[in-house]
Amino acid sequence: MSAPDVPATGGRPDGGRPVATADLLPTAEPREARRVVARLVADRPGLGLASLLVLVGGAAAGLAVPPLLGLVVDIVADDRGTGDLAVAAGLLLAAALVQALLTGVGGQLVVRLGESVLADLRERVVGRALRIPLRRVERAGSGDLLSRIGGDVEIVSRAISATVPTIAGAGLTVGLTVVGLVVLDWRLALAALAAAPIQVLALRAYLRDAVPVYRRQRVLEGERTQQLLDAFAGAPTSRALRIGDARLERVRETSGAARDEALHGFRLLARMFPKLNGAELVGLSAVVVAGFLLVDAGTISVGTATAGALYFHRAFDPIGTLLMLVDDIQEATTALARLVGVASIEPPEDPAEPATARDGEVVLRGVGHEHVPGHPVLHDVDLRIAPGERVALIGTTGAGKTTLARLVCGIDRPTRGSILIGGATLDELGPTRAADTVLLVTQEVHVFAGTLGDDLRLARPDATDDELHAALATVGADGWVRALPEGLATVVGEGGREPTTTQAQQLALARLVLRDPLVAVLDEATAESGSAGARELERSADGALAGRTALVVAHRLKQAATADRVVVLEAGRVVEQGPHDELVAAGGPYARLWGAWASARER
């Protein structure tokens, strides 16, 4: 599975849509983020220490090379003979061997350490993310969560696998070069430091000018990906409406904006290089001049002066590497802080002794709800659904049907009143027990990527193939699943076979059957497929709901007609309830709805 829907650029799926920051999921302070990572590293003390020692050893072995080359120069200058030369060359070979060994092993240790820390962190983040109250995620926009467990995890993991080892290597080389120069002669080291002020100034100018450009560039790349996805997924529609040119223009605009910003960034980068090269020139000249003066004064040998110059020359690349990676590190720290922010959300906990639902009775007492304070969606709803009873919830858009469905399932907490399932409140049941007792299937269709069997086993991980087939048979889906060449092993979801909307919804109902809850809530679960599909799904739903208490939010009045009882919701209030026939006879709002429907049927 390649998940091509997820832009590799780390683009934010929420794109440029303004989202009030107050609503986003929390972001940790950088200090807190570092503390969490330090704790994870400290959990592996042996690995951490070994990595450090081996890397330092490897860098040190590499730094033995310039003095050894200096030794060769001295041997030649003093005309000491081939024996000494062979020893020097042998030492060079040994240094290469040690450096190679330690670099290879050290790199592996760093990857092992970094990746296992990352794995712990991302598992914690995803585990928490799935348990955060849905309302919280929705307030932030689902793009926020997606960008964290998609883009941010990728940024941090790229940093761990590529940036951190590179920085560790380069940093150690630079640091030990300074040490090496000091050991050769402290005055050579002092001369080399002449480069430092220029490098610091260049870096500061770069961070000030270029980093915001890179940030903007990443945002623009995210928008570009989103625009492509928008245009390509909607290509059939734009062909039908003949608006392909307008879509193409949008793609061209966003792609052009990303291109221009990238070129802007590179121009800033090009402005920094002369400064870095200048710093190298100044430092190298200073070391050579210092070497000249010290050799002239007889303080050091020609070989030492040579070693000093070679040392400095060797540090060119690592210094450049370090300066270029400062931005990556800042970016990774930001991403890390966003991950730690999610990991630190405390999900609702189960009570110490969770209650058990005695049966499938659902009772709502004086339930009222407001998503935004002052804007009530439900008023004072009283409702009792007997165990095994099927209730249809009817009303126009905005009447509060979905809100009521979510309250019953415990996805949202009512602002007023209480909800009891089998005699216990949702709080007494706790999230785990509640999730076993009352479940929700909505019109939102999502087939989880993997095999059909994997998809169904999300509902019951230990289910056998026979149990899966039985659940599929209950919802009338066993036929087409068995007809697939690979049956339950068929790969579905992104990158695999795309089931029809009807089939996907049957899978959702089969998952419900596998979970086998006392209470099931269906929120327009049959709405998104065409009329023929809707009828097929109504039969599937009948199978799935048999023997359960059911609250069905219905579009099609036929569903209402077959329910035990109909509840009509208008503007957040229950205006009418009773069996279909009684309500039709009563001549109230439901009778009017039914009249419109039935007359269309019979006209």
């Binding site: 590799a8 650029t9 993310a129 062909r239 039908a240 020609v302 795309e498």
Partner: protein
């Protein structure tokens, strides 16, 4: 398909070359200037870099060893000049290269987008559910091609520039060494290719393995985003823990893969260090002996050693360039496959300019569908008529809708508008006559207003359109109303809101013939009744075909036909058919 549907004259390759390699050649041809200039810049830069250790050697030789201050000043000035040239050349290389890369990427992406959005469409994969190796598949796969493969293809410029400069650096180094000392020069010249070869030999299987491992590591990210995308569904069935456990398994598998990839990469890194270090030791030994003999000076020894150390850089860059080239070839294959993808339906007049082609059409036109061997029944729709079409088999209505939408190949004359076969028309003109509004039509990110007016002509009555489609009610519930954002692909809206906004968009386009396919599947019964009468009123006197099984919609039609296995099996008004046809009742009322 002979000519791909790309408008000439726009930016991007005008006639995309078939196949990956020709495409790469075309990219290089079109970006000749940046390719040549950046390679030259790279050559100069690398040559200058190679001369830095040579100058260090000269400084040691002439200034430090001989303690000559005049020489010191002279050669530091030379060093400064070298650095000035070096930094200028690098600047030239960087700016021309990224200019070529960014512009080339953008142009190629635009060409890809033009192909995907072309009226001719892209033929569906041969069978449903076929493995999505083909690019015609999901939009996600196409986005990957236009997003990252476009860039990787253009990366051929970087491969040429970096590779060319690296080769130049190796040649210069060898030449300087040969000039210094024949044996040393030969040692480096003859020693380097086997080293390079050994590294490549070592690298290839390791890189392949690490590539496989990295792909596996990326799977965990896929699992996470998949779970988060289905979060509401997951929470609905209380499967948070099962989901987290599934992610943990994927994450551990990714960890193992990443560690294995790390082992391979670091093995390669270690081998790299060892080989170049050992080579340096050999050069130092040989050079030292030559210097002891007096064949070369100390400065020349320093230069030789410095050059050998320097050589590691160009060698690594050459390996990088060859990897880049391989990736570029693979990406170019995918890009080319999409650019050249077979059309869903040939556009007979795609090559003609779009303007000045459309003829004035009357507001009400008659429509005739000829029976096709594929099983589409014959249908006649009078000018201004509202026809309902009901099919017992959903596949039959889909086939009819595809034909009306000019999707897929159809025999000439299968569809006639006012007696004229639409197969003669450019696809855009044919679709301008007959607009098919699918029930799952996509919305585009932007405001509600942008979407409703996306295809509207200059004359439209927005209020009437919103009223007829029931979108006014939906708009009231959307934060920001008409100026509210619909989000990516309209995902900020509910299914019912999306469907009504899409219907409003189709009505606003006000086509001579409007075909509505199941336009009310996601709205409630009350709203559906409102839409049925609203559409009837708004399109009064304009030819309209409603393919649906909803009684409310069908009751509002002048005439309804029932499609069976052998074409039209019954026709009449909705009420008549309900009375007399069992099959109709079964299809519509059950």
């Amino acid at each position: 398909m002979s000519t791909p549907a790309l408008s000439p004259g726009a930016d991007g390759p005008a006639v995309p070359a078939a196949g990956g390699r020709p495409l790469l050649r075309q990219v290089l041809r079109e970006r000749r200037r940046p390719a040549v200039v950046s390679t030259l810049g790279g050559v100069v830069h690398q040559t200058c870099e190679a001369f830095v250790p040579v100058l260090i050697g000269v400084l040691v030789d002439r200034a430090i060893e001989r303690r000559d201050a005049g020489e010191l000043v002279l050669w530091i000035v030379v060093l400064a000049l070298l650095f000035a040239l070096l930094t200028t050349a690098y600047r030239v290389q960087l700016l021309t290269l990224v200019g070529g890369l960014e512009r080339g990427e953008h142009d190629l992406r635009t060409a890809l987008a033009r192909r995907v959005l072309a009226a001719a469409g892209i033929a569906a994969p041969p069978r449903p559910g076929a493995v999505r190796a083909d690019v015609g598949g999901s939009a996600g796969a196409q986005v990957t091609v236009a997003g990252s493969d476009a860039r990787r293809t253009v990366d051929v410029l970087e491969a040429v520039s970096v590779g060319g400069a690296a080769i130049a650096a190796i040649v210069v180094t060898a030449a300087v060494l040969l000039a210094t000392s024949l044996p040393l020069g030969l040692l480096v010249l003859l020693g380097t290719p086997p080293l390079l070869y050994a590294l490549q030999l070592l690298a290839r299987p390791l890189e392949r393995r690490s590539g496989v491992d990295q792909a596996r590591a990326a799977e965990a990210a896929g699992v996470a985003t998949d779970l988060a995308s289905g979060l509401r569904v997951l929470k609905g069935i209380g499967a948070e823990r099962a989901g987290a456990e599934r992610y943990r398994v994927a994450s551990r598998r990714a960890l193992d893969a990443a560690v294995r990839a790390g082992v391979a990469q670091n093995l390669l890194l270690g081998a790299n260090v060892l080989i170049s270090g050992a080579f340096l030791a050999i050069v130092a030994w040989v050079g030292g002996r030559l210097a002891l003999d007096g064949t070369i000076s100390i400065g020349e020894l320093v230069a030789a050693v410095g050059l050998t150390q320097f050589l590691v850089g160009p060698l690594q860059r050459l390996a990088f360039a060859s990897t880049l080239l391989a990736e570029s070839r693979a990406a170019a294959d995918r890009v080319s496959a999409l650019l050249q993808a077979a059309p869903d339906r040939e556009d007979p007049r795609a090559a003609e300019p779009a303007r000045g082609r459309a003829e004035a059409v009357p507001s009400a036109v008659a429509l005739a569908v000829a029976p096709t061997p594929a099983g589409t029944p014959g249908l006649q729709v009078a000018a201004g008529e509202h026809l309902g079409v009901v099919a017992a088999d959903p596949a039959a209505s889909s086939a009819l809708v595809d034909l009306l939408a000019h999707r897929g190949e159809a025999p000439p004359g299968a569809l006639r508008v006012d007696g004229r076969p639409t197969s003669d028309l450019a696809l855009d003109d044919a679709r301008g006559l007959v607009l098919v509004a699918d029930h799952d039509a996509a919305l585009f990110s932007g405001t509600v207003r942008d979407n409703v007016l996306a295809a509207a002509g200059p004359v439209h009555d927005l209020a009437a359109v919103l009223d007829a489609s029931g979108a006014d009610e939906a708009v009231r519930a959307i934060p920001g109303g008409l100026d509210g954002q619909v989000g990516e692909r309209g995902r900020s809206l509910s299914g019912g809101q999306r469907q009504r906004v899409a219907l409003a968009r189709a009505l606003a386009a006000s086509p001579p013939v409007l075909v509505l396919h199941e336009p009310t599947t996601a709205v409630d019964a009350v709203t559906e009744a409102r839409i049925a009468s609203g559409v009837r009123r708004l399109r009064d006197g304009a030819t309209t075909v409603v393919v649906a099984t909803s009684p409310s919609l069908l009751a509002a039609c002048d005439r309804v036909v029932l499609l069976g296995d052998d074409g039209v099996v019954a026709e009449g008004t909705h009420a008549e058919l309900v009375q007399r046809e069992d099959a109709y009742r079964a299809a519509v009322l059950s």
